[in-house]
Amino acid sequence: MTRKILVVEDDATTADYIAKGLSENGYVVDRAADGRDGFFHAVDGTYAAVILDRMLPGMDGLAVLSALRAANVDTPVIILSALGSTDERVKGLKAGSDDYLVKPFAFSELLARLEVLQRRGAVHGEQVVTTLHCGDLSMDLLSHRVERAGNRVDLQPREFRLLEFLLRNQGQVVTRTMMLEEVWDYHFDPGTNVIDVHISRLRKKIDESGDVPLLHTVRGVGYMLSEAA
């Protein structure tokens, strides 16, 4: 699998920040400083993902995105934008982006979203999964049955979806906003620790009947479901 990422960002400081972080995490980074250049690079479709700034000189980010989609390039695209209103996000997603991240963002948030996006791309086309596992935790998607070390765990519907999301992305960090978007379908920032409270409930349910904790807090970023501590 290619681990080549294209970063289209005109602000040099932000571009350096992203490129440095991605390199440290094992990605190969190409950079473009304006929309035309970005489109030129991205149109051959060899990148694992494109990180695209919304406001670019030469060619606007959304225009680049539309042009790429029109050229049948289905490389996952994450839009970065200072335009953070929910309507702008919807506009970005409608234009064909796979994710939309509002500036200023923490690099860890970008990385988490990038990893989830890649996994989604990899899973794409596989046969339908009916059970999910993580260590001695199992989830049956058909019967909605969850077990930890052979003991049944009773979950509310929303907790089930939360756990499903974590299981599908196990070993990867998922952020609070990602959970809010995926599990509740809300694109706003609730501001308080709503998600944390839900996670702590879920953790209580799945980790109290096991030997090792599976649901880990990743400081300053979010949560991760993983066998390894």
């Binding site: 953070g84 209103s85 929910t86 309507d87 919807v90 509002v102 200023p104 923490a106 509310q156 929303r158 509740w184 809300y186 694109h187 706003f188 920032d189 609730p190 501001g191 308080t192 620790n193 709503v194 409270v197 839900h198 702590s200 409930r201 400081r219 300053g220």
Partner: protein, 459 residues
């Protein structure tokens, strides 16, 4: 017309008004004059006709009394020079030979007994004169012609035309004068408004247009202008308060960030350094949220976001949010209950409404501690939908509710409690995006926030 005049005419409303008024007064005068001309001409003509008819009747009386000889005698007597000064008479026999009269011969083109006008020579006159005449055929074949001079009808017509032209010429200055007076009056009233507008533009927002209460269009213009000025003044005042508050709320986290940054360097262990960095991240997040919230409110207040209206069920939204906030509420020893959780189909911006309601629930949890149940719900409210979040907290006194809705308006003076102070403002902006309003009510005890949302027909 020079180019300058033309462009002045084109551009100046006053000039166009004057011209229009003038054209209108001319257009209304002309038909009246034409009518009068025709009427008076007809009356004069009628006078001639009745003279001829009377004379014919007298001669016919003589014919009935004395036969052809009697009539011949009567015509002869009257046609004698000097008796009939302004008329003509002629009696001819069966073959058209003159028997009596004061014109030479029967005019060859004359047939029938209708009223005609023609030029004829009178005996003893060199020039032809205009006569109106009618004829009569007698049973024995003789023919009688009776006519009257109509030469004075021409001067009469001329006099009429002159009078009319005079009237038209007079109508122009009178029309101009009238329209100028009217325009001056209107201009002076418009000028009053313009003067007020100019001083407003110059920065004095306290000026108002004088109104007299007559409710005429000028008065109404003045009143609506004043209403607009009230609104502008209130907005400017609010803007000032908001800018101050925003500056305060953004500078405080910046101050804290600077303090934390200095602390990061001083921390002895990695763990403590990481903790200080986390604190910085949190402050940045809070600032980002506040800016995002402010932008979201401005957008909603400007009516942006209607293009993202979708069909959804408000009932489901409430149940979702209730479930989302329940654990948080329980941490604070509160609970959330959805009243009448039935389906309420609605066409609106689901994301923004979700955000608004979640802000309200968040407020209810934050400001309504100490047990009790937060009740949320929605029902049909006439044509609209009413959505509410009611807590059992201390509530907001009636006289401070206005302040609570204001941007960044937190009711504790020290602004110590967390939160951006944008919750109610966003809710109000979202309500107005849905052509509705926000109401703060007394929940006895507690605060009941209601969002009245108009139903928009879905396209």
């Amino acid at each position: 017309m020079s180019r300058l005049t033309r462009s002045w005419l084109k551009r100046s409303t006053t000039a166009r008004f004057v011209m229009l008024y003038l054209a209108l007064s001319l257009v209304s005068v002309i038909p009246v004059l034409v009518f009068i001309y025709h009427q008076s001409d007809r009356i004069v003509a009628n006078g001639y006709q009745s003279t001829v008819a009377d004379r014919t009747a007298i001669l016919m009386g003589e014919y009935r009394a004395g036969g052809i000889p009697g009539l011949t005698r009567g015509v002869k007597e009257r046609a004698a020079t000097g008796v009939l000064t302004h008329g003509i008479l002629l009696l001819v026999d069966r073959d058209g030979r003159k028997m009596a009269g004061n014109i030479g011969a029967w005019p060859p083109s004359l047939n029938g007994d209708v009223w005609r006008e023609m030029l004829l020579y009178r005996d003893g006159h060199d020039a032809p004169e205009r006569f109106g005449l009618s004829t009569r055929r007698l049973p024995s074949g003789e023919r009688l012609l009776v006519g009257v001079e109509v030469n004075d009808r021409g001067p009469m017509r001329e006099a009429m035309v002159v009078a009319m032209i005079a009237a038209l010429i007079l109508a122009i200055p009178i029309g101009l004068l009238g329209s100028l007076v009217l325009v001056r009056f209107m201009n002076s009233r418009v000028n009053d408004v313009a003067k007020v507008a100019a001083s407003i533009a110059g920065g004095d927002l306290t000026r108002r247009v004088e109104t007299e209460g007559s409710n005429d269009p000028f008065d109404r213009l003045g009143m609506s202008l004043n209403a607009m000025l009230e609104r502008i003044e209130a907005l400017v005042e609010e803007m000032r308060l908001v800018t101050d508050a925003l500056a305060h709320d953004l500078l405080s986290p910046l101050t804290r960030i600077r303090a934390f940054m200095e602390k990061v360097a001083e921390q002895p262990t990695d763990e403590l350094r990481a903790r200080a960095r986390d604190a910085i991240s949190e402050e940045i997040d809070a600032m980002r949220r506040m800016i995002a919230g402010t932008l979201e409110i401005s957008r909603a207040e400007a009516g942006m976001g209607r293009e993202n209206f979708v069909r959804f069920d408000i009932g489901v939204l409430l149940v979702d949010l209730c479930e989302m906030y329940q654990p948080l509420a329980e941490q604070q020893h509160l609970s959330i209950a959805v009243e009448n959780p039935g389906p309420i189909p609605y066409f609106g911006n689901r994301q923004l409404l979700g955000q608004a309601v979640s802000n309200l629930i968040d407020n209810a949890i934050k400001y309504g501690p100490g047990g009790g149940t937060i009740r949320i719900g929605a029902d049909d409210f006439g044509e609209a939908v009413r959505l509410w979040v009611a807590d059992r907290g201390p509530g907001i006194p009636a006289d401070r509710r206005q302040e609570a809705v204001r941007k960044y308006g937190r009711l504790d003076p020290a602004r110590a409690s967390e939160g951006s102070g944008l919750g109610l403002t966003l809710a109000r902006a979202v309500a107005s995006l849905h052509h509705g309003e926000l109401r703060l009510e007394d929940n006895q005890p507690g605060l009941r926030v209601e969002l009245i949302l108009a139903r928009t027909p879905s396209r």
